[in-house]
Symmetry: C2
Subunit: 329 residues, 2 copies
């Protein structure tokens, strides 16, 4: 099924059919109608590769995925992929996945560009020392990141969750319930998102005149270690804990269970991500839900601008997470 065949059927030239699809305003209404009917009858769709070859645009958006690191690392990735894929589809684009192992990440991006396998990229999991943004920017490749530029010069568009606003909201909520001794269970310093979430807790505590000293502990995302870290907070006598993730909150649950205390009743706990785990824990975990759908939509909006050659300053979108209150507070 080609343009030529549609043209024959409609009794017009090849180019006229092309115009009917790409610049319908050029055609006389009755011609347009005739061509459209032929397209419908034959169920014609342009050949993507031919379009791509001629227009030098694949209408594909690259999304580099790192090898799975045990699964826990990316609890929200799934939903995010859904969101950008949906949004891309509506704009006539599609998302193409490619493997990007950390050690040869940029080479893989380069490869996709060389073979014109993608017109732009969506990055996720941006981190300190991430070279992708600067690299893509320098090459003038359209891209958008889910996650801020944590280091170096801030280049390109990004969309991110306002982690600080989230943990601050959690602190205020807990303070309103009478808690004064609120600890923070976070990741080791140096991770962008983690530091951001810690900052929100810290600032909100300060604002409320609550003590922060010795009330912040750090741990990697390992349940046993997280649980031990939570122990240190509990030993310090906190009555509430804000965690940097639901996984860490689960570690806190374990620490409480071990000492025969009940989350929610004895010590309040708030997680982050509102992952499926939150409802499955007992008692159900209050958590900060990330508006992933909205993040995906915003990402595509910004990226489409760039793909369409819109010239504008870099735009940054910061979306607040929503505190979902459950039985743990």
């Amino acid at each position: 099924m080609t343009l030529e065949m549609v043209a024959a059927r409609a009794g017009v030239a090849r180019q006229t059919v092309s115009n009917a699809i790409n610049s319908p305003e050029l055609l006389r209404p009755q011609t347009l109608e005739r061509v459209r009917r032929a397209i419908d009858e034959l169920n014609y769709r342009p050949h993507r590769a031919a379009q791509a070859l001629r227009t030098r645009a694949s209408r594909l958006i690259g999304y580099g995925i790192r090898p799975s690191l045990g699964g826990v690392a990316t609890p929200v990735l799934d939903e995010f992929l859904h969101a950008i894929s949906d949004a891309a589809d509506q704009a006539g684009y599609r998302v193409v996945l490619f493997s990007a192992p950390p050690d040869e990440e940029l080479e893989r991006y380069q490869q996709l560009l060389d073979e014109q396998g993608a017109d732009g990229f969506v990055l996720s999991g941006t981190h300190r020392g991430d070279r992708r943004q600067a690299w893509l920017h320098k090459k003038g490749v359209p891209f958008v990141a889910f996650g801020r530029t944590w280091t170096g010069r801030d280049v390109g568009d990004w969309v991110d969750i306002d982690g600080a606003a989230g943990t601050a909201a959690a602190v205020r909520h807990l303070a309103a319930l009478g808690h004064r001794d609120i600890g923070f269970l976070g990741w080791p310093k140096g991770s962008g998102a983690g530091d951001d979430r810690a900052q929100g807790w810290h600032d909100a505590m300060r604002d409320l005149g609550l003590p922060v000293r010795n009330r912040r502990v750090e741990t990697p995302t390992d349940l046993a270690l997280a649980s031990q870290a939570a122990d240190r907070l509990l030993d310090g006598g906190v009555t509430a804990v804000v965690a940097a993730s639901d996984a860490l909150a689960a570690g806190c649950y374990q620490a409480l269970h071990r000492r025969g205390r009940t989350p929610g009743t004895d010590v309040a706990v708030v997680g982050f991500d509102d992952s499926p785990v939150a409802t499955m824990l007992w008692p159900s975990l209050s958590s900060l839900a990330q508006p992933i759908e909205a993040v995906g939509r915003e990402c595509m909006r910004l990226l489409l601008d760039r793909l369409n050659g819109v010239q504008r300053e870099a735009e940054h979108v910061l979306l607040p997470p929503e505190l979902i209150v459950r039985d743990s507070v």
Copy 2:
């Protein structure tokens, strides 16, 4: 960067460069070496769209994703996507995502085929009444499914987890520990995977001469409902529960907690999927881990056969899950 430019640099004809890439055995060693050097120096990569146009093969594999239904529905999808994407990359293919809302699912597959946007498909989440396999088979489109053909004539290749083997293993493990009263917490009849898992429990119980009557309850994946369903099992006096998913197992945990009993100590519980939740629950949940990496590899192996035009009978691969024993038994 085109073939022509590489050819100019190497001092040969366009076609010779093409042969160097696609049929190196045709070239004289020294010519091959010269061309290869030119390719390296210029960092040349073939233009995908041009290749696709000429060879009528996009080297893209379609993966239709349904709108996210709240996230819980697909705990393993993430890992699976990683797996097939990695395997595809190694074979020179890439995975392209497209939205396939249930009501116009086949139209979207058709669209991708019409525009030659994919050479084959990977299906997941096959279910009773799934029309995709028969439809693709009839059209002669290469595809492979993660999940059996649950209804109708069994067509095409598939890879699946042997759910029955998994639950049977769980039952045998529990029986070996002395449990005789083992309940099954499953989904409503009619879901392929759910019935399969129930069957494994049922058959193993029979084999061991253990009672099954009134020891199987059904519930949708909703924590409150699952918890009530678990109550009915516990009221019946079971000493162990095998659940069709970790989410249902979590419901069982809640039922136990509510009546002041401890999972593992008072009643043994085994989940299914070995999702991140399993380690986060307290006590940690024993579960049946799906070898998703292997599923992905096998899927790609079968699909690549079809893409390469290998003629053979439909192949079915059934991989056993592995029982991960934790504190809940």
